[in-house]
Symmetry: C2
Subunit: 470 residues, 2 copies
């Protein structure tokens, strides 16, 4: 059957306005924001309901058509962009953007996959609740994509990854059947917990069309400190002290190196050094509480007092108001962007067991400096989650492209060290197409075979997001 016949049949299913075949209409769906992937597709389908997604997938299954689901198109590993071969049809979930139910008393919300994360945050806010998932792309990423990639972000320490925020899912299976697993139960031990199959599966096992998600009480008090330290081992000890005292009220614990702060001071507007003297390393520590009763400032001071007494902290600045809390976060959030102004940057999104972070950083920084003398490691990120964005800026006088050509080789060195520490080569961003070949190197044959068995069982024709992950 020809492409135009398929397009005609899809038009019968979802209307001509939602079957995009003109190059200009398709274009926004074919590139991602860093231009790393540029794909081709016969058409982009924009269903408006679960029934329409089901009809599309059923038809695709019958006609052996490959489908690439796409949310807000903010993924970083090429999962959502069709292959260059032009064989894969893009299924955009963006029109499925209804908030189906808000349940403040039950601390739950049910939304469709195409709801933008920021919209979801705002809906929770309106109901007097918090939806804690928070990340750079929140203004355009969609919750279906967040769930499909098990997104991380800056609130994982206190609230968990996206996986931990999901109570129930509605999924269109590879044969077009709809699995209604939309539950808002906190406890349910009735057989296999199927939702976890689809969370983080990057659209390879089914199309998530809706989700019931956990809501939380809104924090009413927020405290933050910008702390100067000698080394990552001190930061780890501070983390232990902070977690012991603050427990679940410790909502942020981010590690940054001096060079990253310097980059921000140099290239990021509205930035000033939070501490008088420079320190080799910094921690941005945040505490929040839903109660007006608690003296959260006392808690922050008690934590830093204990740390000062132990000699693990060199200096600390307390945010005096919400603006200063935001100023501290401004530096942390700017840390990725400012690296662009310093030439080429080779990136790694890795995690290791929390207690191994100091040793990992020692080894990995020494290894890349040995590999490219003069390179400038800027490792920063979520120390409390064991997740470091191990980015390495080029030497000051180097040729950018010549440096970037070493990407794979440097990755191999860093990932080797990550594996020595039983770490992960993709802590937050997933596998997609970017790390597919890597996966076969870092996973055991038994684990890979288990994954392949699951894929073959649910999607025997291999039509859903083929070539991603496996």
């Amino acid at each position: 059957m020809s492409e135009s016949m398929h397009a005609g049949n899809f038009t019968d299913l979802i209307g001509s306005a939602n079957v995009l075949t003109a190059p200009a209409d398709k274009a926004p769906y074919l590139v991602e924001w860093r231009d790393l992937y540029q794909g081709q597709t016969p058409m982009v389908l924009r269903p408006g309901s679960t029934a329409e997604v089901s009809a599309i997938i059923r038809y695709a299954n019958q006609n052996n058509l490959k489908i690439v689901p796409q949310g807000g198109n903010t993924g970083l590993v090429g999962g959502q962009i069709p292959q260059e071969t032009g064989q894969e049809i893009v299924l955009s979930l963006g029109r499925m953007n209804k908030v189906r139910q808000v349940d403040p008393e039950g601390f739950a919300i049910t939304v469709e996959a195409g709801v933008v994360l920021e919209t979801l945050q705002n809906e929770a806010e309106k109901a007097g609740r918090l939806f804690p998932l928070s990340l750079g792309a929140q203004g355009s990423c969609q919750i279906g994509g967040n769930i499909s990639t098990n997104a991380g972000g800056t609130s994982v320490l206190a609230y968990g990854n996206t996986r931990d925020l999901v109570l129930g899912l509605e999924v269109v299976l590879p044969n077009g059947e709809i699995w209604n697993g939309l539950r808002s139960l906190r406890k349910d031990n009735t057989g296999y917990d199927l939702k976890h199959l689809f969370i983080g599966a990057e659209g390879t096992l089914g199309i998530i069309t809706a989700a019931t998600l956990k809501l939380f009480p809104k924090p009413k008090k927020l405290e933050a400190a910008f702390v100067g330290l000698a080394d990552p081992a001190s930061a780890l000890r501070l983390f232990s002290i902070a977690r012991e005292q603050a427990g679940p009220l410790l909502t942020g614990f981010e590690l940054m190196p001096r060079i990253g702060v310097e980059f921000c001071l140099r290239h990021l507007e509205h930035t000033r050094d939070p501490l008088e003297a420079p320190h080799p390393w910094y921690v941005l520590m945040e505490i929040s509480s839903g109660s007006e009763v608690f003296e959260t400032r006392d808690l922050l001071e008690a934590i830093l007092g204990e740390a000062l007494e132990e000699g693990v902290v060199e200096d600390a600045a307390f945010a005096q108001n919400l603006q200063q809390v935001q100023d501290f976060w401004h530096i942390r959030h700017g840390m990725s962007e400012v690296q662009k102004a310093e030439g080429g940057s080779i990136k790694h999104d890795v995690s290791v067991p929390v207690a191994s972070i100091p040793a990992f950083l020692d080894k990995a920084m020494a290894a890349v400096e040995d590999f490219v003398p003069g390179c400038r490691p800027v490792p920063f990120g979520h120390l409390g989650d064991g997740n470091i964005h191990f980015n390495v800026s080029q030497p000051l006088d180097a040729d950018k492209q010549a440096y970037l050509d070493k990407w794979d080789a440097m990755n191999e060195i860093v990932h080797g060290i990550v594996l020595d520490f039983s770490g992960s080569i993709s802590a937050e961003h997933g596998i997609g197409r970017l790390k597919k070949d890597l996966l076969t190197k870092v996973k055991s044959p038994i684990e890979l075979e288990l994954m392949r068995q699951i894929k073959r069982t649910l999607d025997p024709k291999g039509l859903l997001n083929p070539g991603r992950i496996l």
Copy 2:
């Protein structure tokens, strides 16, 4: 091949002392504590290592022998007891009781499946940490069984179900291969998250031999109040207020009816009525904090102050010390046991969305009173999790056995109402053999087929805990 030949071959694998064939040796593994299930088995195997489990399963797979894994034998749904046919070999994990690694800085611990829950709690305590899973059987249940059944307990509100406490697993697959998924990473997006397949699968997809689990800071301050209220709607509103103010520091929120407290006063030693006058309903509310700095009593008073102002609370008693906190919990923990002294009790372990609890209780209590006039509902439990132990004591003058004969019929009535509220017919205890037939009535054909596909894929011969769940 004969049973004795198999026994001989197993002896070659794990030593004769660990292959129990004498009736007296096997007996403790063939009954569960309520005597609801009594099974038969050719032998009980007691491996001491993952390699031995692997060897056993490989041999069993080659010889089509059915295997029932058993931990502390405290399950409530017959999952761990071999069938009466005498065809199933019991695999006891009890000898695999090593603590492999304690990582206080990384808030993690790695233990073998046979470690008793209380031992695990103590190991965490020794390292200055908390392992929060807590339930009645903790002195004898084993962590492998807790994980395989996704155990609940009294700390789910703040710390989640067992599933939420697992960082990594080691599993012997149905073909005998060992999947080493023992990771202590907080973030890892490298393909399908396979551990969730085995958690809560009741040993039907693989044998969990070890796990890496989350640890938490130890609470240093504990507050509790025993609150009298007019109805469950008031309790729900109090929950909302408490959760808004205390957030994750709200570590307990248990609902009890007056009749349950009366049963305790009548049959449970060392019990006194915490409040002067009787109230139709009670809530036991607990707050804990890791910080010495916080005035947790102020927080508890602020919550109850707001609730009093709104008129949702009739009276409240504060625990003045740790002993009184324990006295309050003594009533709550005694509530199941005291029902024995009041004649027959028909039980339901159900959950509904938290906000539906008042309406569910109204309907379910009316329905059972309609079905058996004079019966005495004693619904109690984890309101904050939406999980109610909906137990119904016999009418005062009724014949016990005649009443208990109505078990299935009453279950059907209550479960019907649970389903009307999109609830679960097994919130904590799992499916096992007890609720296997029920499962086919409450799950959609699509969901059942997905589960069967997973089972067939991982265990094509159907040898691991056959006839449980599916």
